[in-house]
Subunit: 440 residues, 3 copies
């Protein structure tokens, strides 16, 4: 990387991190104003982001959109009257989707509504109770251990009433009826890798796509509450998606610096999987591969047999595998400018591979005489140059069925590095596209 | 295993061993009264066992049913007039299918008709001469070495005349036109692993099947003289078998305690192979796998390209691999109650897997909301339980093509352990059987 | 190998080496009288060798037959007037296809037209400039380093004018419309492994084929200038070749003693590949396998997607992998009688496998009674002999789809060793050919 592009990328990482800091304090859940605020801020970057509201009670396949939850405040005050736990300090202190409550109770009674994490005594755990009416507070084990006997007052000033679920959809039309899908979620309160990293990388990918000279694919980026929002989105678009999606990626946990990871689609070898593995191999070399059996995010819906879209996941440290996961320690120290920028680069590279991917066929019977086209060193005897070898391999494997991505894998070179040779061969009429992009 | 079922199984092993002891002394060959006596005793356990007699001279494919052989007595008396070898002591002393003989001869002449096994000097070897008229005696190397020069008298009082070949067939009708075949043989004289273990395990499997709430498969268990009897059976039933057999197992050498073994069908990945490997993997963990190239029993006929039935073999120590094989040392010390009971358990488990196997399809678009059906812990945040994970995997892989056995292999769990979750999902309407049992 | 056949083979190696010595001094290039002289000498061995002349300017696919090049002499004389480099000594001294030149020039100017190989200071490198008008001399680094400043005279007395490209084609008709193709090249001047070994082994294979009782395949052996000659040949015969070629081999670098090598076809598992690997495995055991990615000879044309013939390469030390490659050190010390004889043997074995290969089907339902046909030891009990086992395996795998070559691979035996058993089974009517040779 040149110094210039490096500092450009650092700048990009900083911009992404700045956006993360702005979104971090918002109290998101699967419904409510937190989602709306988040999408509204993303719309500053993506003016054409469409917001969809799906009313409570709407059936989405096997599910029903729940009542909308909005929190004003939630706190516990101790025997001495002092607030000891307060969502004004950290959104994670309240169990998401807690029903309203305001009363006094003993420590024993209170304990039944508390959640902490003994193995991470300083972390506030993240707990939800979306589909079962309940209430509770989360706090660090250390704080919980210090609670004294006595009377406590709890207040959860929240509304849980008919409203709607909100999701955002950003589309860039293509010139073909095939599209690339990126899906990320916006339903977690103040945590950084899971989940702010996903929508932030997706937003900056969308901005980059707007500036990109695209070759045909349309793009659809969805910012959805996990699971229920994904199902709501799918319920409105499934037929279209089944016809159009050539490849898709779930973007999640994509902002820390510790690893790069890939989770396979159910089928395991879709175009999305191939582009993801190819990009990770050439851009970062060593990465974690997870099986579809390891899934626990929106791949569950995209890969479900009745949905069956070619979608895999791109991540840095996968959810559930790092100690800070689903706690207050998953914060903006863990997610860094460099971490976000690495996540951005891998998604960008995978998209560049998809944009460049094409099935060609050689047009000559037998090898062409490259020299006639100015493509061959005039003096034999010496080793044919690497560039000539790449051209001969492109020709030899372009049988109208094997796509560039497969040829790049076969000759162990990054797809983008083949493009100068491809362009020369196409210009010379020696390679011809074979009916449209491949969708394998 | 609970203490109760353990002692129940010990009881089962003891019952099987008792039956073995009763059958052991009978002089079986590929035809004759020994087979009839054996089947008659098995009929005490399986009253509906049908006996078929195929007359000598009948063509069965490329073969012809030979004359029937019955032995009254066979002995050698030495120069001092004392009987030194006598089938009254051990049936193995006579070469099976020996023609009648009664005469005096010198030791030199006698030697040309003797068989022993130098590498196992105390063992009487097992020798046959079914299709070439001959006679001979078998004895231990130690006994043979002690023979003194002089005149000997030999007597083989046997009949080898037109009669019939006898086999037994036990059938349990199913509610579908598909059946499970078990094949075992009843043509070896006093030996225990090869072969009494096979018919004994088959008999007790038949008894268990009679008490089983079966789901649709019919069952056919055949007790046949090896090779010629199998061909006789096939010649009468091949078209029906080709239409109906979903999976089959040859049961042989299935009563010792030293190993568990599986010999693949010719095709190698039939439903029978899959059930056999799955059961062995989960029930015993470590087992020997043999290729079809290693076959030497009735798999030769079932897998022959013009027969081509999905049949593999379940064994403990495979024929030909243990030192006592085809000698008098293959006795009821080698075959034990525990050994027989282990053989029984593996066949039972494979059948249970076949009974439970089914291809399902998920009925919802996207994952169902398990909580609506009382199938999900109400509080998120915590790890979804193992049971939930199993249910989600059952749903995610039930695409109408992959059967339960394959899903069980994929998620590395024994098929029976998935059944409670399958039943819950089917009850909830979330999984639906996909046209009938799978036959892959 | 018996002493007799060993000395017969030594005689064969000596004959091949003698022919190599005779052809070695000829100045070959991709056109010209050197090719004609070479083919004329080969015609002494193969009287029906057909010579084709393709005129300069003829289009062959993407290429055009170049002007014909003939060299009379080429030399450099030094400041003292003495000839220091002269093609009379070694043909490699002139860059092949050099345009005529005769002039005096300074050492500095001369250096721009000299080629040497610093890493092999005693070797004259081999350099060509077929498609770019140029001239030059090749000499050892040691000689080049000794050149003194001063005036030099260079003379290349060559003609480069309209003429033709010459290739030879030897055909043996078959009784079927399928043929075996052998392709080798005749365009390199005085070098031995690359390339005299190829045409010499091909010539002796052709002589052997003439004496062979063949079973149906036709044979076509082509002696072509590499690349351009191959394309010229293909341009005249492609449709026929696509219909008829069942398997083909490029023979190149097949006369040294250091290794045996195989380079896969593009598809990698054609009948040619299977025969080549089978023969190498059983005849020499350990050999080098190269991928189609490693190709640099005429496989480039035969495997090109628009040509797509089932052709792989048989070699001893592959071009480009041995230090003497493309230098004057690739001589008749490197290529030996023993080396050539080994090359001959491997090609012969591969052809014998193709000749013998056939798909059979078993004719009986279930195993036949081998004893009825005199094919089984009459006494059971003992281990069935190896011969019986081979027969039973031939029967058990002959399902009308798997060919003998595949069965031989499956049972890990050389195909020719199976033929006695195959013949017995066919004679007995137990195996029947399944419609013609397989072409898989």
């Amino acid at each position: 990387m040149t110094g210039q592009s490096s500092s450009k990328n650092e700048a990009l990482g900083s911009q992404m991190h700045a956006l993360a800091r702005r979104l971090f304090p918002i109290c998101r859940s699967i419904t409510g104003d937190g989602v709306r605020q988040t999408l509204s801020i993303l719309r500053e970057h993506l003016p054409t982001l469409e917001i969809t509201e799906v009313p409570s009670g709407t059936k989405v396949f096997d599910w029903t959109i729940p009542d909308e939850w909005n929190l004003r405040e939630a706190w516990i005050s101790g025997p001495d009257g002092r607030k000891i736990v307060d969502t004004a300090t950290n959104n994670l202190h309240v169990v998401s989707y807690s029903v309203p409550v305001r009363r006094r109770l003993s420590l024993d009674e209170l304990q039944r509504h508390l959640h902490s994490k003994p193995e991470l005594p300083d972390a506030i755990p993240y707990v939800t109770s979306y589909y079962s009416r309940n209430w509770g507070f989360c706090l660090s084990q250390r704080q919980r251990d210090a609670l004294l006997p006595g009377d406590y007052e709890v207040c959860i000033d929240a509304s849980l009433t008919s409203g709607s679920l909100t999701y955002g959809e950003f589309r860039l039309p293509g010139t073909r009826d095939k599209e690339i899908l990126l899906s990320t979620y916006v339903c977690h309160p103040s945590m950084a890798n899971n989940e702010l990293s996903g929508p932030i990388v997706a937003t900056f990918i969308a901005k980059w796509l707007m500036s990109l000279q695209r070759r045909g694919f349309g793009y659809r980026l969805v910012f959805v509450p996990e699971t229920i929002g994904t199902l709501a989105f799918l319920s409105r678009s499934l037929d279209e998606l089944k016809r159009q999606v050539a490849a898709g990626f779930v973007l999640t946990c994509i902002g820390d610096e510790r690893a790069y990871s890939y989770l396979a689609s159910r089928r395991g070898n879709t175009l999305a999987d191939r582009a993801a593995r190819h990009s990770l191999k050439h851009l970062v070399g060593s990465f974690n591969t997870y099986d579809y059996l390891d899934r626990a995010s929106d791949e569950r819906q995209y890969g479900f047999p009745t949905v069956d879209l070619p979608v895999c996941s791109l991540m840095r440290s996968k959810y559930g595998t790092y100690p800070e996961y689903h706690t207050s320690l998953d914060n903006l120290d863990l997610v860094t400018p460099l971490g976000l920028e690495g996540g951005f680069r891998i998604v960008k590279h995978a998209i560049e591979c998809l944009e460049a991917n094409q099935t060609y066929r050689a047009t000559t019977v037998g090898e062409p005489q490259l020299g006639r086209y100015g493509l061959y060193p005039s003096l034999g005897g010496a080793q044919a140059s690497e560039q000539v070898r790449v051209m001969l391999n492109l020709l030899a494997y372009s049988d109208g069925e094997i796509d560039l991505l497969a040829i790049a894998d076969l000759i162990a070179r990054p797809l983008p590095s083949l493009l100068p040779a491809v362009r020369k061969l196409v210009s010379a009429g020696l390679l011809a596209p074979s009916d449209g992009h491949t969708e394998r």
